[in-house]
């Protein structure tokens, strides 16, 4: 069986890749994590895990020994995106790895791609969000490394990756429960989504597909669906009607504190930093962050009686939700043999199953068969598990 290292194995995509490739016996998986604390998900299996920071070439070289392919699934900020490419590539080369599969993003085409966009479309240097520019730079850096090096490079460009542990799934559920969910223009825009299992199928195919070296592939679900289609089942499972979720318009061109805060929230960097401070201070800081999230900003005085603030779309969400173009996976189908293995309806069901597993207050009629930890028991306990989640 092919030995495959997954660097970033505790992340949302990395952990599902480890799980699926291992449980289906598709590869001998070697999870690589940046420190021992990041082992929790991979350690559920009896696997040959390694600890190596993706910026530490020497440690990585050791971790990648005897692997045929390395999957780069490291997520993070600009420094992480750009700072882990050369070390991973160099380590792979020294370790004798044949191919590197890199998880880029459809965001290299922008959140609202022009009709007709595909892998052949030129990547613009003028991007609405810094993340897009970082991913473009990363792809170009990998191209340079490939030209000078021996390790093959296959780039995957997934769109919105949803499903278990995805921020797209969990954050919308969090926002619904907290009363701050919204859709942009009724959620009528095309969602360029890919269920995480379908992305893992593409990763699996990219491990050894001939003719893929040096190529980039858009990866999406088979179906065309809107943001409302993606959100509606989650809302229903949590007892909300999507019609009752506010639809907002976006004031173009503004990147304000809300965008910056949302970006920080989604990186979870705040929570990581908070984990380093003493427990009592941490509790206070969480309360402050939650209050900030809940209220937007502090009321100026006790006489202010305004209700909860109207939801505001982040720039990223506004751009994503007005997309009118379904990015094609035709090249992935042609070269990799990519066929999404999970249909959209099933993907939504599995995502809801995960929400329930994670403790969200999923209504009994949507609940999966959880075996002995029965939904009836959870119902008897009321909303304790999820109603007050941050």
């Amino acid at each position: 069986m092919m030995r495959v290292a997954v660097v970033g194995a505790n992340g949302f995509i990395g952990s599902r890749a480890v799980e699926l490739l291992h449980l289906e016996g598709l590869a001998a998986v070697r999870p690589v994590v940046r420190n021992l604390s990041r082992l929790a998900r991979a350690a559920r299996f009896d696997l040959d895990w390694r600890v190596a920071d993706a910026r530490d070439r020497a440690a990585l070289t050791d971790a990648l020994k005897d692997c045929e392919v390395v999957v780069h699934a490291v997520a993070g900020d600009r420094n992480t995106i750009l700072g882990t490419l050369a070390p991973v590539y160099a380590a792979a080369e020294t370790a004798g790895v044949r191919r590197l599969v890199y998880l880029s993003s459809a965001a290299v085409h922008g959140q609202d791609p022009a009709p007709g966009t595909d892998e052949e479309s030129a990547l613009s240097n003028s991007q609405p969000l810094p993340y897009n520019a970082h991913k473009i730079r990363a792809e170009r850096a990998l191209g340079d490394l490939r030209r000078r090096g021996r390790v093959e490079v296959v780039i995957l460009r997934p769109g919105i990756v949803y499903g278990p542990r995805s921020r797209w799934t969990a954050a919308f559920a969090d926002d619904l429960v907290a009363g701050r969910a919204y859709v942009v223009d009724g959620g009528a825009g095309i969602c360029n989504g890919v269920y995480v299992d379908n992305l893992v199928r593409a990763i699996q195919l990219a491990l050894d597909a001939p003719g893929a070296d040096g190529e980039a592939f858009l990866v999406g679900d088979a179906e065309q669906y809107t943001w409302a289609d993606l959100y509606r089942p989650i809302a229903a499972a949590l007892g909300f009607g999507l019609d009752a979720v506010p639809s907002v318009a976006y004031a173009e061109g503004r990147v304000d504190w809300w965008d910056r805060f949302e970006a920080a929230r989604q990186r979870s960097a705040a929570r990581r930093v908070l984990s380093l401070v003493p427990i009592r201070l941490r509790a206070a800081a969480y309360a402050a962050v939650d209050a900030w999230r809940a209220n937007g900003r502090a009321a100026p005085d006790g006489w202010t009686t305004a209700g909860p603030p109207a939801p505001r779309a982040t720039r990223e969400m506004a751009l994503l939700q007005r997309s009118r173009w379904k990015l094609p996976s035709a090249k992935a189908a042609r070269v990799l043999g990519y066929r999404p293995s999970v249909a959209f309806d099933d993907a939504c069901r599995r995502s809801i199953g995960w929400l329930e597993f994670a403790g969200y207050p999923v209504r009994a009629s949507f609940a999966a068969d959880r075996g002995r930890a029965s939904t009836a028991a959870r119902d008897a306990l009321g909303t304790a598990a999820g109603a007050e989640r941050p």
């Binding site: 799980e19 699926l20 449980l23 289906e24 016996g25 420190n35 021992l36 604390s37 990041r38 082992l39 929790a40 998900r41 991979a42 350690a43 559920r44 299996f45 009896d46 696997l47 499903g163 278990p164 542990r165 299992d197 979870s268 929570r271 990581r272 984990s275 003493p278 427990i279 009592r280 941490r282 509790a283 969480y286 999970v342 069901r349 599995r350 995502s351 199953g353 995960w354 329930e356 597993f357 994670a358 403790g359 999966a368 068969d369 959880r370 075996g371 002995r372 930890a373 028991a377 959870r378 008897a380 306990l381 009321g382 304790a384 598990a385 999820g386 007050e388 989640r389 941050p390």
Partner: protein, 356 residues
């Protein structure tokens, strides 16, 4: 009182070192020995405890150096051997949780304490949290009526700065149940007594669990669920629903509880104080301590017990009882439902988990 700190990893650095410094400043004790086979562990603690010598193993740390109390804060697979060695070398022991990796190890530790006549305490520090004490008083007193059901959900993305891979080893009491669940199960045993029935499921598939669920049933029809995770963010709350009210505790609030009373419309979020009196008039006295004070109180209790001035709050018998509950969980183990897995994955997961 001369103290040896055995095991100088994350818990020693984060919690024991500041607590021991606080007690040194009160002249309650003095740290005389630091013990860890890995010099990375002892290097910076030497600056914190300049009176301490450094040793690589527990016998060298304690033998002939006048150590009265050994705090065993090493990985759990070392607890039994180090605790028994320390007891036999003449020291009392405060052993971190979980007390041991198996019930048999725990029994050997209890036997060694009995043979040597030394104090053996277990570091289930949550019994020292004012909120935990208040919850126990409220539930036992029946002031909220009869308990009907409870739900405890604890954990989230694993962030503990682990230095040992033992947290993830099957043969070393790795996994979320023995790591975090032992606290929850100990508090429940303290508050509610021994459960009649324990059902347990987790997601270990050849390794150690990141998610687990314990369902408990008690005489009188009380039922409850404990959900633990190193994977998904949990509310980190305990909820107790009684016939005449409810009680909710956020586990990071050492000195606060939330309370609802029967048909009183408002709920209460209470910061806990001692009760004082002005003549016949009760009033709020000093606030109860937070997490740090509770951790210090744990060590102070052991010191007082060694000096014969107080009873142990968490005895070796309590630690052993928590090991027995962990064992009951493992014996009733089933694979937790993971509804996102495909059929082939699920079949393989069942096979790897070694359960039905």
């Amino acid at each position: 009182m001369n103290v040896a700190l055995v095991g100088c990893g994350a818990v020693a650095h984060r919690y024991y070192a500041p607590a021991l410094r606080a007690l040194e400043s009160e002249d309650v004790l003095r740290v005389r020995a630091l013990c860890d086979p890995d010099p990375r562990g002892t290097t910076d603690l030497r600056a914190t405890f300049p009176a301490a010598t450094v040793a690589g193993d527990v016998t060298a740390a304690i033998g002939g150096s006048g150590i009265d109390l050994a705090i065993v804060a090493s990985p759990p697979r070392c607890h039994a051997e180090q605790t028994i060695a320390a007891l036999r070398a003449g020291a009392a022991v405060l052993c971190e949780k979980p007390m041991a990796t198996t019930v048999a190890e725990g029994e050997a530790m209890v036997a060694a304490a009995r043979e040597t006549g030394r104090v053996l305490a277990v570091g289930l520090y949550r019994r020292f949290l004012p909120a935990a004490q208040t919850i126990g008083e409220l539930l036992r007193s029946g002031r909220l009526g009869a308990l009907r059901r409870f739900h405890c959900a604890e954990g989230g993305d694993f962030r503990w700065p682990a230095r040992s891979p033992d947290f993830f080893r099957r043969d070393a009491a790795g996994g979320v149940l023995a790591d975090v669940g032992v606290h929850t199960l100990d508090l429940l045993a303290w508050w509610l007594g021994t459960p009649q029935q324990v059902d347990y499921e987790d997601d270990a598939m050849g390794g150690v669990e990141a998610n687990s669920c314990v369902r408990l049933a008690y005489p009188g029809g009380v039922t409850g669920e404990v959900r633990l995770s190193r994977d998904t963010e949990q509310p980190n709350q305990y909820l107790f629903q009684c016939t005449d009210g409810w009680l909710r505790w956020h586990v990071h609030d050492a000195d606060r509880v939330e309370l609802g009373l029967g048909d009183v419309e408002a709920g209460f979020r209470a910061r806990l104080h001692r009760v004082a009196r002005d003549g016949t008039h009760p009033r709020l006295g000093a606030p109860r301590g937070g997490f740090e004070e509770s951790f210090v109180a744990q060590i102070r209790n052991v010191v007082d017990a060694v000096r014969g001035r107080a009873a142990l709050v968490v005895s070796a018998a309590d630690g052993l009882a928590s090991l027995r509950t962990l064992d009951a969980c493992r014996r009733s183990r089933a694979l937790i439902g993971m509804p996102w897995l495909g059929d082939a994955e699920l079949a393989r997961a069942r096979q790897l988990s070694g359960v039905r």
